[in-house]
Symmetry: C2
Subunit: 430 residues, 2 copies
């Protein structure tokens, strides 16, 4: 029996909103936002959406009107009382009151700032400007909206049972992966797939399937809304935007060289335990570790997010040893372009030598490869990054030159300052 | 939003009824029932359930109490006004008022007679006795109930997402078949899968998937309830029970030899066009055609339901030619243990030479092979047949000795009377 009220209510919506909550975002965004709110709240930043997969011409696939409607809907969102209560009252990483009252008060009054949208060569130029704590909250919803609108454009062509079979295939595909992961003893894996998910409902399905299929091995999700609704751990620490903006704000090469460590010094004031995870690759992992202060070696672990993951982990192990630390007690979180076989390989390689953990993203929540003609739903590499801070351009080098960002002359300067040698270029898929 | 009333209503059910309508049955049952009602209504028959797949021990899988509840529920059913209106008012095979007022009046008052159930050697002995028109209506629901209870027994062990993925796989599997069938030019195929379906909901899904996926090529379903609810053609003509009972009633060998033709003589009085389909294999196709009266050669077509289907079709073609009929205008309906590859092969072999058509049964509505550990959901060969009429045993020979039924001495007598030579034994899978 149809619930008539529900059906009539559904007809009231002018659109089918993709993002329906300000906490339908990654947990690390909230941790970083609080850190920024505390340390750099007045920094003026510009975030910009960049589609690294040029041959997917988003502006030809996605209607500009629909995109604006979705973005405008996000601007109408504010934190609900239940969401606020959860953030204030819940335990995160074993800690109560992770979010301070002054930050929560600010968050409760937050509305996302305006956006600037135009089309250029078949792509959308989507930028956000304003105070860092506000602008940064656009990253995840903006990415999720573009990913899902692209999906909808493809799905519009399909009939009812064709659609049902498409999802049937996707479910089967994920379940096969879950069954492979189940076999890995001592696995620790989390969902990092919010930003490039196929859709919110699909991510929610994937997370529930992981919960049933993996039990203890599934440690949680980066998506705060799903963590809240499914009573799971919210997972995440920090990301490149912190060192990128800190670096851009540096007044000279000396400050620039120190900026990545300043980020973690500020972080250390707020967080301990499993939240003390180093993200070393923004300006080259090797140089970063080499010149790192000793107190950093005492941190709980490291996140490997670019370059050859095995090489990155070995570099970290050597570094910990050189600083008199015991690698077997360290957390190594792999989070770059993972799929099951890679996960199994890395776990086999590093379990026992370190405590490996996995942040599984795009290929968990958006693996529709091979399920549609012309692979029209295959995931692609979309990012939303800080491109300037207080009118200075930001730079990212990473351990993969194909992931580098920023003006050429600045990239050159950063490479010099951070003493980055030759790097191996690797294909960026997701 | 949950429809609260629906949820509460669902809680009122003591059981989840498998068969919820007297027309959740095969269309040919109703045609045959009307014919029996008109010509042999007082015949006392016994129908009995036979599981040809002995290694599936139904009495160990299915709880007797649950089975009785389902059977009792079927006995509580009667024709609804809407069902009656549909049968009285709808056009079947292009004909209005297919069902006569006196038959409809009887059907509207029908309740199914009692059943006799006991366990023996891990199997259920389920028998039905009484007037032929009433007892015969038990066949399809009894089979459907046992198939579905066996399925439920297996599914009881599974968790939520495991179940969803199971159906996801089954949907994908069927869709792959639909895509293969779509490629066959001029295909005509119908759903004959009611009796051995995985479940009612699954058959309904399969029929809808065939409708979307095959369009014109899908000519309809044998299930009256689904035909009514989905506004499709109800498909079916007649089956072995007619010649089996007519034969059992024969007073002597002479009458016995004539009985299969008497069935069709009675049928011809009621039906024409595409309902004039010969089912020749009850006592051997070759002998049946050889001794058939000339008027039978004028019938629209033939149904091949046992033995090597290609051989059966060739035999029919030769026979039509020998009687001066043009085979290219004749309908040949293949309906025995079909799956897509066999369908494609037979269509390629006979399209143009005759008008081939396919009644796809078990492997349309119950192909869960390979989807569960130990293949616990694989279909099996369950039948419900007339075993006696007016206290005389019935006999079936068919073109496959593995499908023969009846007392040994009677089988010998029938083989003599019907002049059946050596037969090729073929594995009976479904």
């Amino acid at each position: 029996m149809v619930d008539i009220a529900t059906r009539v209510w559904n007809h009231k919506w002018k659109i089918d909103p993709i993002v329906r909550s300000l906490i339908d975002t990654d947990f690390y965004k909230l941790l970083m936002c609080q850190s920024v709110f505390r340390n750099k709240r007045d920094t003026q930043v510009t975030f910009s959406l960049i589609n690294r997969t040029k041959d997917i011409r988003l502006a030809e696939l996605i209607d500009e009107g629909e995109l604006r409607e979705q973005l405008d809907h996000i601007r109408s969102l504010s934190l609900t009382r239940g969401e606020s209560t959860w953030l204030r009252g819940n335990t995160f990483y074993g800690k109560r009151q992770m979010f301070r009252p002054d930050f929560m008060e600010w968050f409760e009054n937050l509305r996302l700032p305006d956006y600037h949208l135009e089309k250029r060569d078949g792509q959308y130029e989507l930028t956000f400007e304003g105070n860092w704590p506000e602008v940064m909250m656009w990253e995840i919803p903006a990415l999720a909206v573009l990913m899902e609108l692209r999906g909808r454009a493809v799905l519009d062509e399909m009939k009812k049972f064709e659609l049902q079979v498409l999802y049937a295939r996707a479910m089967t595909k994920l379940w096969e992966k879950v069954k492979k992961l189940r076999k890995i003893d001592g696995l620790r894996i989390a969902d990092f797939g919010t930003r490039r998910r196929h859709s919110f409902l699909w991510q929610d399905w994937c997370v529930q399937a992981m919960t049933e299929g993996l039990g203890e091995k599934f440690v949680g999700t980066s998506n705060c809304l799903i963590a809240k609704d499914r009573d799971l751990e919210a997972i995440g620490t920090n990301a490149h935007e912190l060192p990128m903006v800190y670096a851009a704000l540096a007044e000279n090469d000396g400050e620039l060289a120190q900026s990545p460590y300043q980020v973690l010094a500020d972080w250390q004031e707020e967080h301990d335990g499993n939240l003390r995870i180093i993200l070393p690759d923004t300006y080259g992992t090797e140089g970063f570790l080499q010149h790192a202060p000793d107190w950093l070696a005492g941190w709980t672990g490291i996140r490997i997010d670019s370059g050859d993951p095995a090489k990155g982990a070995e570099t970290a192990i050597d570094w910990w040893r050189s600083r008199g630390e015991d690698p077997t007690r360290k957390l190594v979180i792999f989070s770059d372009g993972l799929d099951v076989d890679k996960i199994a390989e890395l776990h086999g390689q590093f379990a026992g030598r370190v405590r490996p953990s996995f942040g599984w993203g795009t290929l968990l929540t958006n693996d529709f490869r091979g399920l549609t003609p012309g692979d029209a739903l295959a995931p692609f590499s979309l990012v939303c990054k800080a491109v300037s801070a207080n009118d200075r351009p930001t730079v990212k080098l990473s351990d993969n030159p194909n992931k580098a960002m920023g003006p050429a002359d600045e990239i050159a300067r950063y490479k010099r300052v951070f003493d980055v040698g030759p790097q191996k270029a690797m294909k960026v898929e997701v």
